[in-house]
Each structure stands twice: as C-alpha cells, then as structure tokens.
Amino acid sequence: MSSDAVRLFETRRAEQIAARRRQTALFGVVFLAAFAVSVVVGEVSLERLATGLPRFFAYIERTLPTLSLATLGADLGRWFWNFEGWLRLLFDTILIAFVATTLGVIGGFLLSFAAAKNLVANPWIHHGARRFLELMRTVPELVFALFFVFAFGLGPMAGVLAIALHTLGVLGKLFAEINENVTAKSLDGVVAAGASFDQVIRFGVVPQVLPGFVSYTLLRFEINVRSASVIGFVGAGGIGQELMFVINQFIYTDISAILLMLIVTVALIDLGCEKLRHRLIGQESLK
C-alpha cells in the first residue's frame, strides 16, 4: 500500500520533470528558429556589425562641438547659433503635446464610462467602446499623422489630432480599468437614492477615480512630449522637422545641439510632472 503511493509519486514526478524538459527543449528550438529567421530577414551579419559600430561612434564624435576653455562663450554661441529658433520650435512641440493630451483626455474620459463593464450593462456598448479604443491604441501616432497631414495639410494641427487619437485609445482603456475597480457599494448607494446614469457617474464614480485619472494623464503628457518631438518627421509640426533636416543634411553639431535641448526639456517636464503628481495625490496612492 505505502510502496504503491511511493511508486505513484515517483512516476508522477518523473512525468512532470520530463514534461518540463520537453517544454524547455521546445522553447529552445522555437527560439533558435526565430533567431535564425530573424538574422536572415533582418540582413544582419557580424561583418556589418563590426563595421557599423565604429562608424556609429565616429558619428557621435563628429556631432560633438570643439569647445575650448579660452573661448567658451563664443564656442557655445556658435554651437547653439539658432538657440531662439529652436526654443520656439520646442515651445510649439510642448504646446502640441498639451493640446493633444487635453483632447485625448476629454475623449478618453467620456468613452471610459461606456467601456466599463460594471457601469454599462449592454454588452454591445461596452464591447464596441473597447474595440474602438483598442484600434485607436494599436495604430501608431505616426500613421495617424501621415493620414492627417494629407487631410489637414502640413503643420501642427495634423500632429495634435494624431497624438490626441492615440492618447484617447490609451487613456480610455486605462480609465475604464480604473472605473471597473470602483467599489460596488458606492454605486449601490447612489442608485438607491434614485440617481440617473449621469448622476451615478458624477457622484458615485468620478470622486473615486479622479486621482487615478490625473496620475495617468500626467504620465501620458510626458510621453506625448516625446511623441510630439518626432511627429514632425512626417511634416506634422514641432521640432521634428528641423531635427530630421539637420540629420539628413549631416549638420553634425546642430544635431547634438537640438538633441541636447530636447533631452533637457523632456527631463524638466518629467521632473515637473512627477512633483505635481506627488502633490496632487500623495505618494501612497502611486503604489
């Protein structure tokens, strides 16, 4: 009797170990196959890597300006010769992110209630809203921007709308997930007092979800500033167009000057948003 149990245990264990080994081997084979195919399709070779990397470091070196301590002011002046022009473009870039985030938040806010399972009983509505948000999220901003440049012409308006649509998709989904975590008790309470749908949203849901919404919005704004900086690659406004021009024309020191300004701006905005987030909702609720 007891030896039966031991034997049963041993065979089961051997089976499990064998199954795990088979699985690991299978993953290994699939991984190696994917790697081999990718190397061929991706046109990768050690030779290209060996010649490419030194050229990349040489490229980076060439973008660095010659600065000497004796003539630092003049050197910096020559490096950032178009400082004011670039600053204006950076300002436009931030405005694009700001307007796009605002529009995206408005759209995402409205749709998030339709996409929340606990608020809308009709499966057609919340599935429809979910799929729509999914589509907006999956299409990259740059693709929307390509379309909108055709429809709205070159310039920031196309960029704003492209980033706004993508933001709507991302935030709508995140907001809907927050909505679904609202405690049922507060909803029941408002419903029991005879509230209509919009009153349930206003008094039962919004007070609970607002801190989460604000936090996600600020995070998204940071991301959108980055997106707005490259949306100009397809002619949709901001500093991207200038950046693409100097890279394509090999104006080396301008590349590093613009990128440096961009990095500092993005870092400052990240810092500001983080401060604001902590002040608005406190460090506890971030976890």
Binding site: G42, E43, D92, V143, F152, M157, N248
Partner: protein, 287 residues
C-alpha cells in the same frame, strides 16, 4: 434625484461652513485654475493654427479617403508586404534580444549594491538617461545615415533605445533584490562574481524576462513605423502608399499590421505569465 428643500440646504450650509460647499477661497481658487487651463488650451490651439473650419474641411477629405479605401487591394505586392512584415518582426525580436543581453552587464554595473564606486554607476545612469531621452525614431534616422537603409539600422536603433530603458530597469531590479542571499553567499566564501551569479541573478531573472517580453511587444508596434525614415519593415510601404495616395493599398497594409500586432501581444502576454509562473487568467486568453 430630487433635491431636498433648498432652504434647508442653505441653512445647513450656513451652520456648517465648508461641508456642503467648499470654502469660498478654495472654490474660487479651483475655478481660477480651471479657467486658466481653458484659456491656455484655447490660446495654444489658436497658436498652433487649429480651427473648426479646417477640422470640418479635413474630415471631409478623410471621408473621401475612407471611401477610396474599399476594397483593399495588394496590387500584386502581397509577398513584398509579408516580407516587410517579417522584417518588422525580425527588427523587434533582434533589437529586444540585443538590448536584453547588453542590459544584463550594464544593469549590474549600474546597481549601487553591486558596484560600490559612485562614479561608475552615476556616470552610467546619466549615459542611459541621454540614450533614453532620444526617441527610437531619431536613433533610426541616425543609424540610417551610419549603416545605410534597411532593417539593420532599425535593429540597432531599437537595441540602443531599449538598452537605455532596460538597463535602468534591470539595475533597479538588482538594487531591490533581497540582500540576505548575498550575505549568505559571501559568508560561505563566495567572491563578488559568485554573489552576482548565485545570489542576485536567480532573484532578478524572472523580472528581466518579463520586462524583455513586454518590450518585444512594444517594439513590434514601434518597428511598424521605423520604415517611415527608411529603417526597414512595413512602415516603408505604408508611408510610400500614403504619399502616392494609393488608399486601397494602405487599407490592405493596415489590415495586415493590426492582426500581427494583436498576435504578438497575445503571444507575449502568454509567455510573460509563463515566465513569472502565473497561469494566464481566462480573461487574457479570451481577448
């Protein structure tokens, strides 16, 4: 919801100031912030050249585009599209793989509890900040001018950009690892390398794996657009077909991209739950 008698509310509000209505200072402060935000939004929209007239005109154009999209056609380019899509996946796969491999040693070097020298980890963290601060599309553009057009530039761009993010995340995971295991290995006479290999690595490996898988998913999305700047993949065809207004081809390409991205999302989520040892919830599988 019918309100209670308004005179009673007024009486209560007068007796307990700050409970029913916010104190006037706070109320007007909040209104000022909202009004300021609204004015800023309108000014920014106007500054960026946005207007309802342009919006309506553009929407009309988009309607025309949408009508020209059906029926989607490949115009004999089907296998070229499939190959380009394969390039996109290969770029995401190899880029993520390269970045993950490079991030393991960099993560250890950047972790305060492994490398005691503050100069090394502070310097490394700042270099990573700069790499991360530049969008992968910018890196792609730079790599196109360094190694030429094609997917190889895209792979390097993804690898470099992700190294900036992953190495930082890995370093943070290593810093958050339980120190007792390290002390145990040290007490048993282990060297620094032994501690890294035997005490820290087993703790952080699942985190590494799950992050890398998540990045593969995200990179598949971003790799679809790297072709816009000539760095290989389906983005090249997409941007090209939009530029020549071949809308039914555009529709076909988008219909190819969306299910591919969804498939990779599903695969990555599945593997991620495998890697951290959690059974995938039924909800994730049904999506």
């Amino acid at each position: 919801m019918s309100r209670p008698d308004s005179t009673r509310i007024a009486a209560l509000a007068a007796r307990y100031p700050g409970t029913i209505y916010a104190p006037p200072g706070q109320l007007w402060g909040r209104r000022a912030v909202v009004a300021g935000f609204f004015v800023a939004f309108l000014w920014a929209s106007d500054h960026l050249g946005m207007s309802f007239a342009r919006l309506l005109q553009g929407l009309q154009d988009l309607g025309i585009v949408a009508s020209m999209m059906v029926p989607p056609t490949s115009a004999g380019f089907f296998w070229d599209y499939v190959h380009a899509l394969g390039e996109t996946l290969a770029m995401a796969f190899l880029g993520t793989l390269l970045a993950s491999l490079a991030s393991i040693p960099l993560g250890f070097l950047g972790a305060r509890n492994v490398v005691a020298n503050p100069v090394i980890h502070f310097g490394l963290r700042r270099v990573l900040d700069v790499i991360r601060g530049v969008d992968s599309l910018v890196w792609a553009l730079i790599f196109v001018s360094v190694v030429g057009l094609g997917p190889f530039a895209g792979i390097l761009a993804i690898a470099l950009n992700d190294t900036g993010v992953l190495a930082k995340m890995y370093a943070e995971a290593i810093e958050g690892a339980d120190r007792k295991a390290s002390e145990g290995v040290a007490a048993a006479g282990g060297s620094k390398a032994d501690i890294a290999r035997l005490a820290i690595f087993p703790q952080v490996f699942p985190v590494f794996l799950s992050n890398s898988l998540y990045f593969f998913e995200a990179n598949t999305r971003s790799a679809t657009i790297l072709g816009v700047v000539g760095a290989g993949g389906i983005g090249f065809f997409l941007a090209d077909r939009i530029r020549v207004n071949a809308w039914s081809d555009v529709c076909f390409i988008i219909l190819l991209i969306l299910p591919t991205v969804a498939l990779i999302d599903y695969l990555s989520r599945f593997l991620r739950e495998r890697a951290i040892g959690v059974e995938p919830p039924a909800e994730a599988l049904s999506r």
